[in-house]
Amino acid sequence: MWSIISVLVENKPGVLFKITNLFRSRNYNIDSISVGVTENPEVSRMTITTEADEKQLNQIIKQLDKLIDTLEVKLLDEKKSVYRELVMMKLKVSKPTDIKEITDLANAFKCDVHDVRKSSIIVEITATPDRINALTDLVKGYGILEMARTGICALARGYGDEG
């Protein structure tokens, strides 16, 4: 079961190490992790996605919660949260028409293209994993030269608001 866990932690050195080391030492899996400071400079938010069964997920949350440097651990409901990932792909340009085709695809996916060159082009997409996978499938044929992903970043939706 793919799950998103949102963890508020003390923003200080060594905390990321403790979190990742916990996953390693207890044989849990990190699918992606993104970290950044929050509106409070003393607090960072880590968004961790993991593949685990219910029992293991339960343990992951409890073990994270047990760490003294974690302030809040939440399992995010996919339907009740906004989650996105930013991905950049450097695609191979083999013939001049590739640029037009790729730009059209990017427009259809509402994403940007950068660094347009004779032999390569960079596509940047911020979307849910499903949309990212859909685009990736479509552009695979051109040849993906390089790829960089940020990992999922997520927030729970507002209270009482089902939008």
């Binding site: 932690v9 060594g14 190490f17 080391n21 030492s25 409890k62 047990k66």
Partner: protein, 562 residues
Amino acid sequence: MEKISGARSLMIALEKEGVEIAFGLPGGANLPIYDELYKSNIRHILVRHEQSASRMADGFGRVSRRPGVCFATSGPGATNIVTGIATAQADSAPMIAITGQVPSKMIGRDAFQESDIIGITNPIVKYAFQPMTPNEIPEVVKKAFYIASTGRPGPVLIDIPKDVQQNEAEVHFPTEVKIRGYHPWVDPDITQIERATEMLLSAERPIILAGGGVIISSAFAELQSIAELLMIPVVTTFKGKGSFPENHPLSLGPIGMHGHAEANKLMTEADCVLACGSRFSDRSVGTFEEFERNLKIIHMDVDPAEIGKNQTTNVAVVGDVKTSLRIMVKMLIQKAIKRNGESAWAKRVKETKDYYRENLKIHPHPLAASKVLKKLREVLPAQSIVTTEVGQHQMWASLFFDVIHPGTFFSSTGLGTMGWGFPAAIGAKAAKPDVPVLDIAGEGSFNMTENSLAVSVLEDIPVIVFLLNNFTLGMVAQWQRTFYDRRMIGVDLKNCPDYVKIAEAYGAQGIRATTLDEIGKAVQTAIKSNVATVIDIPIDPQEDVLPFVAPGTSLKDMILPS
């Protein structure tokens, strides 16, 4: 405000926490700390190897229920206490380990005697601090003691770079600290305790499983009240051994790999277990799936992460075990519930216990472990503290040495650290000088920390080493006999050294006892003389520890002596 050094502020902070004794060994990177130790009122116990410092601090902490303190220098000094820290973590023992570190500017440059002890110990500490300025130290110390001793206790590391020990600053000593991500005490949920009580009352074949948490929270009286009010038999984990008097009619002793036959048997027959402060270790329960089959599990624990970790729980009560049990006792008294021992289950329990106690075959040797340890029990006062090493002698102690006074038996049960028992006994004796302290040892384990005899003698902290000497790494030998078709390798210690002479070389008393009578007399001599004593008891190298639940099997597959 006057400026003081980091080392000075450390010493003041330790004194404010009530530290009177610390175990350690100095080196280049902690000399400023030692220079302040020289000026302080804290008694320093010089060890011969840092590993023993951490184990003495561990033993001190378990007995006094206050964190034991140990010092080590950077690099190898720090890595030498790693096993001691891991042992304390596995058994939830309160400990403060204070290491010197290379000067802050040298960190990361692979300096002489530099080791990343914070990184190395990360998975085996409850928390670790590395103060980078002298004025952080008092708050760090206060937080360290708070973390180490509250909730589920554990080891806390404080790693102090040498320049931070030396530099001076205006230092403020806080009287209390707050850690926003740490909530060690949770009030148990009354509704859950009600549900637990109902489940226990409606069970036909209830059993209590008492773990180490009962000892840590001193919930002895509460546990006994529940057992007696409901006439429920009590099994323990090995760590929980002695949380319930083992001469009590309802006591069945420890379950597990080398549990009592009656305990293992009745555990598998029970339909509901009240588990108090136990983490359901594989050594206690065998295979997890088999253990929980047809069994309702009520789990009380201070650590929410233990709920559901190894076993599926039917009712969970998160909170201090003593508090939870006390509430349960009140509920039972309010409901005026008092049972007699007339149920079919009570009869089955008694019959099973009597059967195994009368019919288990005893090893045919004049110094069979059971005879030797029963002799020890006869002559050792009940309030004495007993530690063990790790191996066959430890499991024989579990099987044949009854703990009468709750909370007087300590062993490295989780990590299984050989060489733990002797230094831990010295720490225990330092915490409780008025009672005899005895380490039930095997020679394989004793070899690992026997140089602590110097500490026991020179610091006048006399403990007794009760050495069951089979000239073999006995437990490994037993597994080689049982699982490897008697291909014996790496187990023969060939009666070297002579432990009486070793004792004498250190200025301790060495006694060789070759009959039960001599054993009894030797223990009495050791207690009376109040000097460090090694009692060397040659036993049969061929004796196995039985019953035995082989690894990866369930309690019902217990192998009995034949």
